[in-house]
């Protein structure tokens, strides 16, 4: 609307504040499927603590969460369920595709798996590994936080 300098400054500051708030308490929705889910749980546990980022609560209901970490292989039967859970999440929402199977189908290039979860939902961060260790997943989550803070990823 108004392009005067004070107006823009205000919007930018509010925008920055909003982005800061979003990154500082991102609630993940539990979508652990296979082996990567165990590593995700280990990331939330005491040794590699996700609680220091405000993320140790894995909300059971997608309606209360911001981030969906697709941890594990997505089979043909599970793909519609994945899409439904994604649709149930309110904006702004982000998706991290954790592991090789979620990113590209991994070592299972066959009839049973969806070759990459980005065929079903839009993905923001891909974390490679089979399974990715907690440090890798943490790096992926922090990269997502950085990108949101810088404004590269809106929602």
């Amino acid at each position: 609307m108004a392009t005067t300098a004070p107006g823009n400054l205000l919007m930018t500051t509010i925008d920055k504040a909003a982005r800061w708030a979003r990154t500082r308490s991102m609630f993940p929705a539990s979508f652990g499927l296979a082996c990567c889910a165990i590593e995700m749980m280990a990331t939330g546990a005491a040794h590699y603590d996700l609680g220091r980022f405000g993320m140790e609560v894995f909300r059971a209901s997608p309606r209360q969460s911001d981030l969906m970490v697709v941890a594990g292989r997505v089979s043909q039967k599970m793909a519609p369920v994945l899409r439904q859970v994604y649709d149930q999440m309110p904006d702004p929402k982000w998706v991290i595709s954790m592991g090789a199977c979620a990113s590209t189908g991994g070592m299972f290039n066959n009839y049973a798996l969806v070759q990459g979860v980005d065929q079903v939902v839009p993905v923001d961060i891909y974390v490679p590994g089979c399974p990715p260790g907690p440090q890798s997943l943490m790096h992926g989550i922090l990269t997502l936080h950085d990108k949101i803070m810088k404004g590269e990823i809106a929602s």
């Binding site: 043909q76 189908g105 290039n109 066959n110 049973a112």
Partner: protein, 179 residues
């Protein structure tokens, strides 16, 4: 069939010499009454080759002989290598005698059907459904023969040899450079 005494004698002698039987007491007692069931030793494990129509009868006899648990039922697709395309394999376990036994039967290419073992051991319910889902072998008498691993509307039976693996060529997608 009554023949001359001479012919019957040679038949009997040939039969006793040809039919191998297992050493173990319990197994020998199980195999003896069944003349059309062959016993094999596969790398030290006992295998019973059962004709398709005697599948349920032999299984019931095995359970009475002490094989309380059926561990697994699965199938193998031999494609053109054997006259009957499918083999159905059941692994049995006897806890009281500490024995294992494998029962193998065959099912033809067209409309492969085998009697279901659910009346004998209820625990083969899921494994038989899986064999049906993956191979298309129909288990006669199964209470709920539906797809278990693949989606309900899936067409085809994935573990058959003529069902392709479904490899998808690697797609290189455009992605933004991560700084």
């Amino acid at each position: 069939m009554t023949d001359e005494t001479g012919a019957v004698e040679t038949e009997e002698a040939v039969e006793v010499a040809e039919r191998p039987l297992p050493d173990n007491e319990v197994l020998r007692g199980l195999f003896e009454p069944f003349e059309d069931v062959g016993w094999e030793d596969s790398r030290g494990q006992d295998v019973a080759r059962v004709p398709n129509e005697r599948w349920l009868v032999f299984a019931t006899a095995a359970k009475d002989a002490g094989f309380e648990m059926c561990v697994d039922v699965t199938a193998v697709d031999w494609m053109r290598q054997r006259p009957d395309r499918f083999e159905v394999v059941a692994n049995l376990l006897s806890m009281q005698h500490r024995l294992r036994l494998r029962m193998i039967t065959t099912a033809p290419r067209q409309e492969p059907t085998v009697a279901s073992l659910v009346p004998v051991w209820p625990g083969v319910n899921f494994p038989e459904r899986e064999a049906y889902d993956m191979f298309g072998v129909v288990f006669d008498g199964h209470p709920d023969l539906t797809r278990i691993l693949m989606p309900d509307e899936w067409e085809g039976h994935p573990l058959r040899k003529d069902f392709g693996v479904g490899t998808v060529p690697v797609q290189f997608k455009e992605s933004h450079k991560v700084s």
